[in-house]
């Protein structure tokens, strides 16, 4: 019946943790407030990064590389075949110079008459290559573009490189900054929890001494504090997510135009279930980690 005893002890520890929270509610509230502020900051940041990454991926999905042909190039079919054999190329579309001119007219609309004065079609023919995910990353895309340019009959390639590059660079910088911010926050929040737990340990010194006296082992003494830390972390994460969700809902209409500009679409995504769960787990592990930190030097004897 070992399992039953273990469960009973855990339940006793939970009750003990709850009793601890109830006996010092202010400490709990302050700790949870600090924690959720930190997690809110972290969550906001993650949300931004997540959406920026989403933009890059969306963009990538219709990322095309345009390869312009030399004027004299003739063996279009063979070239198309070669291109489509290259790894990472999903589809190759041939756009003749005539088609290109038609498109240009359509794009220009009412101003299309400026083209009427031309005596010959100035546009080159081209291939439009749809690229697979392995080529959506900036570095490999650049190498690939060079490779295509080196092929006989190809004059030049374009793929919106400036945009992809700078956006990718910003995103990468954000991710690093986020990592730094995350680590920094973890340390601060872990310390906050460690402090609260240490307060709790002090205020329950007598109780611990008596538990030890009647034969409580280390785990029995520590478990309530781990649980208390976990509760703090979990509650704080839940508060942070709710606040973030509320802010998200309130902020969208206000930020609408900026978001369209930044993300290229009006409605950014909120966290999915997995991300929320992850945030809660981060909160809980912070709580337990902080508690462990503060119990590191708890005396085993007496």
């Amino acid at each position: 019946m070992i399992e039953i005893e273990v469960i009973r002890r855990i339940l006793t520890s939970v009750r003990s943790a709850l009793r601890g929270i109830r006996s010092a509610p202010l400490v709990f509230v302050i700790s949870v407030t600090t924690l959720s502020a930190g997690l809110l900051l972290l969550g906001t940041y993650l949300l931004i990064v997540q959406n920026m990454r989403g933009v890059l991926e969306n963009f990538g999905q219709d990322l095309k590389l345009v390869a312009f042909l030399d004027e004299g190039a003739t063996d279009v079919d063979a070239m198309k075949h070669t291109l489509s054999e290259l790894s990472g190329v999903q589809a190759v579309l041939y756009v003749s110079n005539d088609t290109a001119l038609v498109r240009l007219r359509e794009d220009l609309g009412r101003d299309a008459d400026v083209l009427d004065g031309l005596d010959r079609n100035p546009l080159p023919s081209s291939f439009e290559l749809s690229l697979g995910p392995e080529l959506r990353e900036e570095g490999s895309l650049r190498v690939f573009a060079k490779q295509v340019e080196g092929m006989p009959g190809i004059n030049e390639t374009r793929y919106g490189e400036d945009w992809v590059q700078s956006y990718g660079r910003i995103l990468r910088a954000m991710e690093w900054l986020g990592l730094g911010l995350g680590v920094f926050l973890m340390l601060i929040l872990g310390t906050v929890i460690a402090g609260t737990v240490r307060l709790a340990v002090y205020s329950r010194n007598d109780e611990i001494a008596i538990q030890r006296l009647v034969g409580a082992g280390g785990v029995f003494v520590r478990l309530p504090f781990y649980i208390e830390g976990a509760i703090q972390g979990g509650v704080a994460a839940a508060v942070a997510i709710s606040l973030l969700y509320a802010l998200f809902g309130l902020g969208l209409p206000v930020l609408g135009d900026i978001l369209v500009f930044l993300l290229g679409k009006p409605v950014p995504d909120f966290f999915g279930r997995q991300e929320m769960l992850a945030l809660v787990l981060v909160g809980i592990s912070l709580g337990v980690g902080g508690a462990m930190l503060s119990l590191l030097r708890l005396e085993e004897r007496t």
Partner: protein, 236 residues
């Protein structure tokens, strides 16, 4: 139940709290530990429940070697030992019954059984009507009875009492001693540290007398009370 072989406890600055103590206490004995203030009574008891280790020598309690014991095996030893103190050491923010329950919670007993057993124990000690009071609402004698209930509720084979009546009026003190004697009668090995002569005179039990950390007298019960004033048994 207890064996000590040349056990010593030395604190920093060459302060000896105990010097070269060798003794045996059998299962079921009732032993008084006495001597003037600072003689080492508390120190000796603390080593018996694993709160301290001897500096040298060996101490065996309930088959466990205290000297070699790791911190992680102390709890197991403690579950075999009930301990009571002069100042009761009750938790002020828990009810009487919850104070007694601590012992059983730690032993992993079910909640229902905890309540029933704590209740029974308290009733036996005449506190059946005080279950849900806070310790502060109780008299000193009642508080000590709660502490005894906490110590005995798990039926430990060994009871250690450090000046259990030190804070109590004489008639309450006798009350407490009766309860301890009752536990002894039920088979518990009992060690009571006291320097209260009225208790020593009243109960004809074996007496260990400490003086500045040394065991100077070990007087067996048979020699009492006729042997007052004379050391009946020479020390080994």
């Amino acid at each position: 139940m207890i064996q000590m072989y040349h056990a010593e406890k030395r604190y920093e600055g060459n302060v000896y709290a105990l010097r070269d103590i060798s003794l045996t206490i059998e299962r079921g004995e009732f032993v008084f530990l006495t001597g003037s203030s600072g003689a080492g009574k508390t120190t000796l008891l603390r080593m018996l429940f694993g709160a301290d280790k001897p500096s040298t020598g060996q101490i065996i309690v309930a088959g466990r070697n205290i000297t070699k014991m790791t911190a992680s095996s102390v709890p197991e030893l403690r579950r075999q030992i009930g301990v009571i103190f002069q100042d009761f050491k009750l938790l002020p923010d828990r009810s009487v019954v919850d104070n007694v329950a601590i012992t059983l919670e730690i032993a992993g007993v079910s909640r229902r059984e905890i309540r029933a057993r704590a209740w029974n124990m308290l009733r036996r000690l005449g506190l059946g009507h005080r279950l849900d009071h806070r310790p502060k609402a109780l008299s000193g004698g009642e508080q000590q009875r709660v502490a005894i209930a906490r110590a005995l509720v798990n039926d430990p084979p060994l009871l250690l009492a450090d000046e259990p009546t030190g804070n109590l009026d004489p008639d309450l003190a006798l009350d407490i001693m009766d309860i301890i004697a009752d536990a002894h009668a039920r088979g518990t090995t009992v060690i009571v540290a006291t320097h209260d002569p009225s208790l020593l005179d009243r109960y004809p039990h074996r007496r260990l007398v400490l003086d500045q950390g040394r065991l100077v007298t070990d007087r067996a019960p048979e020699t009492y009370p006729t042997a007052i004033g004379r050391a009946a048994l020479p020390l080994p």
